[in-house]
C-alpha cells in the first residue's frame, strides 16, 4: 500500500540532509556529524565546494537587489534550506522594509528551524512543501497570506533544480509555477553543471557520487538543458552565465576559480500571460 498523501515522511537525523550540508559548506554549525561527514567526503573530490555555495549566495544577493530595483517586493524562495545569514528576507527587508518573503523547503528540520528564525517577522514565512508538487506550494495558506499572485513575484530556484531528477519532470514543475505568476515576474535560478568546474570530470563525478550515496542525487545538466527552464521567460542581461559574470559588482577575475562552476540567470515573464 502506498503511503497516503497526508501521512508525513518520517525524519531521520542519521540521514544526511542537503540543506544542512549546504550550511556546513557555508561555515555554519546548523548540522550534524552525518552531514559533515558527507560534506567532507564531497570536499575530498571538490575542495572548492564551499566557494561554489558562496558564489550562489552572492549571486542570489545581487539578484534580489536587482528584483527590488525592478520594483518587486514579493519573493518566493523554493529550496531555501537552513537559514544562516544573508537570507532573502534580510537582503530585501533591509532595502525595502515590508518586502514579503515565503521560503519553501521539504526538509522538516529546515522548516522548523526556519520557523524559529522567522518568528516575529510578519512579512516572512516558511511552507513545508516540495518543488515537485507546485500546487501544494501555490495553494498553501501561508503563501496566500503573504503573496499576491496578481502582482509580480521573484521566484528563486537557487541551487535546487539540480536535486530534481528528470523522471520527476522538473520542467513541468517550473512551467506550472511560471503559469501561476503575474506578468513581469522574475525567475532567479542557479544550477550545477560539469561546465566551468576547474577540475577533471572524474573528480567532480566523485562528488556527484557522494550525493548519490546519500539518496539525494545531484543532477548535473548542460547549459542548454538549464536554459530550457527559462521557457516562457525573456532572459535578463547578461543571460545564462557563470555566477560571477552575472551583473558583477567587483571584478570577476578576483573570484575563486570554483565560483565559475554551473550557471546562473534571471528571466522575466513577458507581458502576455501564458
Amino acid at each position: 500500500m502506498e503511503r497516503p498523501a497526508w501521512a508525513p515522511r518520517s525524519i531521520d537525523i542519521l540521514v544526511p540532509s542537503v540543506a544542512r550540508i549546504y550550511d556546513y559548506y557555508l561555515g555554519g554549525s546548523y548540522n550534524f556529524e552525518v552531514d559533515r561527514e558527507a560534506a567532507r567526503k564531497a570536499m575530498e573530490f571538490m575542495p572548492g565546494l564551499p566557494k561554489i555555495m558562496q558564489a550562489n549566495r552572492a549571486f542570489m544577493r545581487r539578484a534580489v537587489r536587482f528584483a527590488l530595483d525592478e520594483g518587486i517586493t514579493q519573493f518566493l524562495d523554493i529550496g531555501s534550506g537552513i537559514p544562516t545569514f544573508g537570507n532573502v528576507h534580510e537582503i530585501a527587508q533591509a532595502v525595502r522594509p515590508g518586502s514579503r518573503v515565503v521560503y519553501v523547503d521539504h526538509d522538516p528540520v529546515a522548516v522548523t528551524h526556519s520557523e524559529a528564525v522567522l518568528a516575529g517577522n510578519d512579512d516572512a514565512d516558511v511552507v513545508a512543501a516540495d518543488l515537485r508538487k507546485p500546487q501544494d506550494i501555490l495553494a498553501s495558506p501561508r503563501l496566500q497570506r503573504l503573496i499576491d499572485l496578481n502582482r509580480p513575484v521573484a521566484l528563486l530556484l537557487v541551487a535546487i533544480l539540480h536535486f530534481v531528477e528528470d523522471t520527476d519532470d522538473p520542467c513541468g514543475a517550473v512551467a506550472e509555477l511560471r503559469d501561476a505568476l503575474a506578468p513581469g515576474s522574475l525567475l532567479v535560478l542557479t544550477h550545477a553543471s560539469y561546465e566551468g568546474i576547474p577540475l577533471p570530470p572524474e573528480r567532480s563525478e566523485g562528488a556527484v557520487d557522494v550525493y548519490q550515496d546519500i539518496r539525494n542525487p545531484l543532477i548535473m545538466r548542460s547549459r542548454e538543458e538549464i536554459a530550457r527552464f527559462f521557457e516562457g521567460y525573456d532572459m535578463v542581461e547578461p543571460g545564462l552565465v557563470p555566477m560571477p559574470h552575472w551583473r558583477p559588482e567587483t571584478a570577476p577575475e578576483d573570484e575563486d576559480p570554483y565560483a565559475f562552476s554551473g550557471f546562473a540567470g534571471v528571466g522575466r515573464t513577458s507581458g502576455r500571460t501564458a
Binding site: 508525513p8 561555515g27 549566495r57 552572492a58 528551524h113 567587483t250
Partner: protein
C-alpha cells in the same frame, strides 16, 4: 569619509584593506569584498584606539575577535590571517610616534585577546547553532511523530470503523489482526478466529481456483485476487463474502503480509436467490413461469446428439366464462387446482410443468421415448381434468385443449416450438376441445400463412395489391348481358393471385373489410359509369353492377352515407347498383340491421339475397326483407349439369322461382356451366344467370366484348 592618504585615517584604511584582502577569501560571507572591508573598518579602528589608549584595555581585542565571528569569519584561517595582519601592520600603520616596544607588547596582548574573543564567540555561536538545529530537529520529529500518530489514529479508526471486514495475516496464514466488522460477520470471539490458520478456512463450496490463487499470493507471484467465497461461521452457519486478498510487501519489495478485505454478501445472496425464484415462478400457482420454461426449453433444444423432446400446450376450454360468471377469485382458485393436478401428472425425471400465463399451461418431457411419453402425458392431463373441481360449493367441470409437439432437438427454436404447439392447441379447440392434437407441419404452415396474410392485409390495400374481376350476369330470356358481379382479387407479392375465400374472412375478422369494401364499391361503380358512357342506357335499362356486402359492412354505421357519396361522386343512378347480402347475414336480422338496407332500397339500389337456400331461411321472413333479387346457390344448379336433371332439384327450383315471382322478386342463378343447364333454368322461369358457360370472371374489357357481341348479335 575622505582620508588623507598619509594621515591617520588613510593609514587605518590601508590597514583595513590589507586585512580584508587577507581574510575575504576564507570567509563565507555573501558580501562583496568592498562591503566586507566596510565591516572590518570599525574593528581596525577599535584596535588602533586600544593600541594608543592612555590606559590599555585588552578587552578591546576580545571584542574584535568576537566581531569577526559575527561577520561570519568562522574559518580558523580567518583568525590566523587576522592575527598575522594585526601583528605585521597594526603598529606599523597605527603606532606612529609611540614607544615601539610598548606598542609591540600591546599589539601582542591585543592579538592574544582577539584569539580568546574569537574562540569564545565561535564556541558560543557553535553551541547556539547546534542547540538551535537540535531543537529544530526535535520539533520536526515532534511534528512528524504527531502527524504519524494522527495518521495512525486515522488508520485505526478506518480499520475499526470500516463496514467491510479487514484481516491481516502473515504468509504462513497466522492471523495477526482482525477488525470489528470481520468479527461481527463471523460471530464468536476474536480468539476463536485468531487461532484458526487462514489455510483452514475452507468451505465445501470453494471454487477450485480459490486456493490456487491463495498459494500464488503467499508465494509472492500474485499481488491480489478477488473471489466469491463462503466460510463456516463458528456456529456452523454459512457466511458468503466478496473477498479481496492483497499481498503487502516490505519497503524492499519482499512479501510480508496478506491483507483480506471481505464484504458480507450472505443476505444479498439469499435475496438474489429469492428474486431469482420470484422471477422464474408464477406467483399464483407456484409453477415455473414462462421465463424459466423458456430457459429450460432452450437448454433442452440445444442439447443435441439425437435427443428428442415432447411438449404439451394446454389451454382450458371456456375458462373466460368461468372467470366472467364466478369472478376472478374463483378463476384463480380453479387455476391453482389445475396447476396442482398438472404438477401431479409430470413427476418423472425430465418432466416439467409451467404456467405461461392466463389459463395456458405447458408440460415438457425429455425422456428416452418421448413419442410415446408425450401422448401419455397429454392423456394423463386430460384425465386429470375429468374430475370436477369444487369451488364455492359448485362442481365445475373443466376441460382443456392440448397441442402436442414432439420431435428431435436442435431443429427448431423454443419460440418456434411453442408457436407450433399454440397453433395445434387451437386446432384441438376448433375441433371441439377436450382433446389433444399432434402438431402437423402442413397445418402449421397454413395457419402461419393465414397469419401472414392477415398482417399483410392493411399494407396491401395501401399498396394497391387488390384488383377487381367482373363476371357477367346474363338474361336467360335472350342471352343479353345485363350487368356483372364485381369480385375482388389480391395480387399477393409471394402467393400470386388470391381469391376472396382466402382473405375476405381475414378482412372480416380484422375489420379491414370496411375500407376494402368501400374501395371495391367505388371501383365497381366507377366501372359501371364507364360502361354506361360507352353503351348508353339502352332499351333494357343500364348495365348493372353487383357488389358483395359482408356482414361486417352491413353493421357499419357509415354504409348508407358512403354508398350515397360514391354514387353521387361518380354520377351513377342508384338503380345501376345491386348489393348482394348473404342469406346467413340476415338470419334473425332485426329492424335496426335492416334499416340501412331499406333506405338503400328506397333510393333505388337493388338488394340481392346471396347464397339463397344454404341457410335455414325463414321463408315467411322473406316478405319483410327489402330485397328484390334472390340469388340461388350453386348447389341447386349442380344437379342440372347432367342429363336428365335431378327431378327433385327441378321441383325445388321451380317452387322457389314461383315463390319469388309471387313476392315480386327476380331470381338469379349461379354456377351455370353448360348450355343444357342454362336452357333448363330458362324453362323453369329464372330471370338471370352467371357462370362459366357465359364467362369466367375477368377484366372489365371482357365485358365490353360480351356486351358488344350481345348488341350486335
Amino acid at each position: 569619509m575622505i582620508a588623507e592618504p598619509d594621515g591617520p585615517e588613510g593609514r587605518l584604511r590601508r590597514l583595513t584593506t590589507i586585512w580584508s584582502r587577507a581574510v575575504f577569501p576564507v570567509t563565507s560571507t555573501s558580501l562583496t569584498r568592498p562591503e566586507f572591508e566596510e565591516q572590518l573598518l570599525p574593528l581596525a579602528r577599535r584596535l588602533s584606539g586600544a593600541l594608543r589608549a592612555r590606559v590599555f584595555d585588552a578587552g578591546e581585542g576580545e571584542a574584535v575577535g568576537a566581531a569577526l565571528v559575527g561577520a561570519h569569519c568562522t574559518a580558523p584561517d580567518a583568525l590566523s590571517r587576522s592575527l598575522d595582519c594585526v601583528d605585521a601592520y597594526l603598529v606599523l600603520y597605527c603606532g606612529e610616534g609611540g614607544d615601539q616596544e610598548d606598542l609591540r607588547a600591546r599589539s601582542a596582548r591585543l592579538q592574544h585577546a582577539m584569539a580568546a574573543g574569537f574562540a569564545r564567540a565561535l564556541r558560543e555561536r557553535t553551541l547556539a547553532e547546534q542547540e538551535a538545529i537540535a531543537q529544530a530537529a526535535l520539533r520536526a520529529q515532534g511534528v512528524v511523530a504527531q502527524a504519524l500518530h494522527a495518521s495512525e489514529a486515522r488508520f485505526r479508526a478506518v480499520f475499526e470503523g470500516a463496514a467491510i471486514g479487514i484481516g491481516i495475516a502473515d504468509l504462513e496464514g497466522n492471523v495477526l489482526q482482525i477488525n470489528g466488522a470481520l468479527l461481527r460477520m463471523f460471530g464468536g470471539s476474536e480468539q476463536t478466529l485468531r487461532i484458526r490458520n487462514v489455510r483452514d478456512w475452507t468451505h465445501a463450496e470453494d471454487a477450485p481456483q480459490v486456493w490456487r490463487l491463495y498459494e500464488e499470493l503467499v508465494r509472492g507471484e500474485r499481488e491480489h485476487y478477488h473471489v466469491e467465497k463462503a466460510f463456516y461461521r463458528p456456529d456452523g452457519t454459512v457466511l458468503w463474502t466478496n473477498l479481496t486478498v492483497s499481498l503487502l510487501r516490505d519497503p524492499d519489495g519482499n512479501p510480508q503480509y496478506q491483507l483480506a478485505l471481505m464484504e458480507d454478501t450472505t443476505e444479498r445472496r439469499l435475496l438474489n436467490l429469492r428474486l431469482r425464484y420470484e422471477a422464474t415462478h408464477d406467483a399464483l400457482t407456484g409453477l415455473p413461469n414462462r421465463t424459466l420454461f423458456f430457459e429450460r426449453l432452450e437448454k433442452v433444444l440445444s442439447a443435441g446428439d439425437g435427443r428428442r423432446f415432447g411438449l404439451c400446450y394446454l389451454d382450458l376450454d371456456g375458462f373466460k366464462t368461468i372467470n366472467d360468471s364466478l369472478g376472478h377469485a374463483a378463476g384463480d382458485r380453479l387455476l391453482v387446482e389445475v396447476a396442482d393436478r398438472l404438477q401431479a401428472c409430470a413427476t418423472a425425471p425430465g418432466e416439467m410443468v409451467a404456467r405461461l400465463g392466463g389459463d395456458e399451461f405447458v408440460a415438457l418431457t425429455t425422456g428416452t421415448d418421448t413419442q410415446r411419453e408425450v401422448d401419455e402425458l397429454a392423456s394423463r392431463i386430460l384425465n386429470a381434468l375429468v374430475a370436477p373441481i369444487r369451488i364455492d360449493g359448485r362442481e365445475l367441470t373443466v376441460r382443456g385443449s392440448i397441442g402436442v409437439v414432439e420431435g428431435p432437438v436442435g431443429e427448431r427454436s423454443a419460440a418456434e416450438v411453442l408457436r407450433s404447439a399454440d397453433i395445434t392447441m387451437y386446432r384441438a379447440k376448433s375441433a371441439g376441445g377436450n382433446r389433444f392434437e399432434l402438431a402437423d407441419p402442413e397445418a402449421d404452415a397454413r395457419t402461419i400463412t393465414r397469419h401472414g396474410l392477415t398482417t399483410a392485409l392493411p399494407a396491401a390495400l395501401d399498396r394497391g395489391e387488390f384488383f377487381i374481376e367482373y363476371q357477367p350476369l346474363v338474361r336467360l330470356g335472350d342471352g343479353s348481358v345485363r350487368g356483372a358481379e364485381a369480385l375482388v382479387r389480391w395480387l399477393h407479392p409471394q402467393h400470386g393471385v388470391l381469391g376472396p375465400d382466402r382473405f375476405i374472412p381475414l378482412a372480416e375478422h380484422t375489420g379491414l373489410i370496411v375500407p376494402l369494401g368501400r374501395w371495391v364499391m367505388e371501383q365497381s361503380v366507377r366501372q359501371a359509369r364507364e360502361w354506361r358512357e360507352r353503351y348508353g342506357d339502352g332499351t333494357e335499362g343500364p348495365l348493372r353492377i353487383n357488389v358483395n356486402l359482408s356482414p361486417c359492412q352491413l353493421t357499419h354505421p357509415g354504409l348508407v352515407q358512403e354508398t350515397v357519396d360514391i354514387l353521387e361522386r361518380t354520377g351513377v343512378a342508384p338503380d345501376a347498383l345491386c348489393l348482394e347480402v348473404t342469406e346467413s347475414a340476415l338470419i334473425g336480422a332485426d329492424d335496426d340491421l335492416l334499416k340501412p338496407l331499406r333506405r338503400l332500397a328506397e333510393m333505388g339500389v337493388d338488394i340481392a339475397l346471396d347464397d339463397f337456400g344454404t341457410g335455414y331461411s325463414n321463408l315467411a321472413n322473406l316478405r319483410r326483407l327489402p330485397v328484390s333479387v334472390l340469388k340461388l346457390d350453386r348447389s341447386f344448379t349442380q344437379g342440372m349439369q347432367q342429363f336428365p336433371a335431378d327431378p327433385v332439384d327441378l321441383k325445388i327450383v321451380e317452387g322457389i322461382v314461383a315463390l319469388a315471382h309471387s313476392l315480386d322478386l327476380a331470381v338469379t342463378v349461379e354456377g351455370v356451366e353448360t348450355g343444357a343447364q342454362a336452357e333448363q333454368l330458362r324453362t323453369l322461369g329464372c330471370d338471370t344467370a352467371q357462370g362459366w358457360y357465359y364467362a369466367r370472371p375477368g377484366p372489365p374489357d371482357r365485358l365490353h366484348e360480351l356486351a358488344l357481341a350481345d348488341a350486335t348479335g
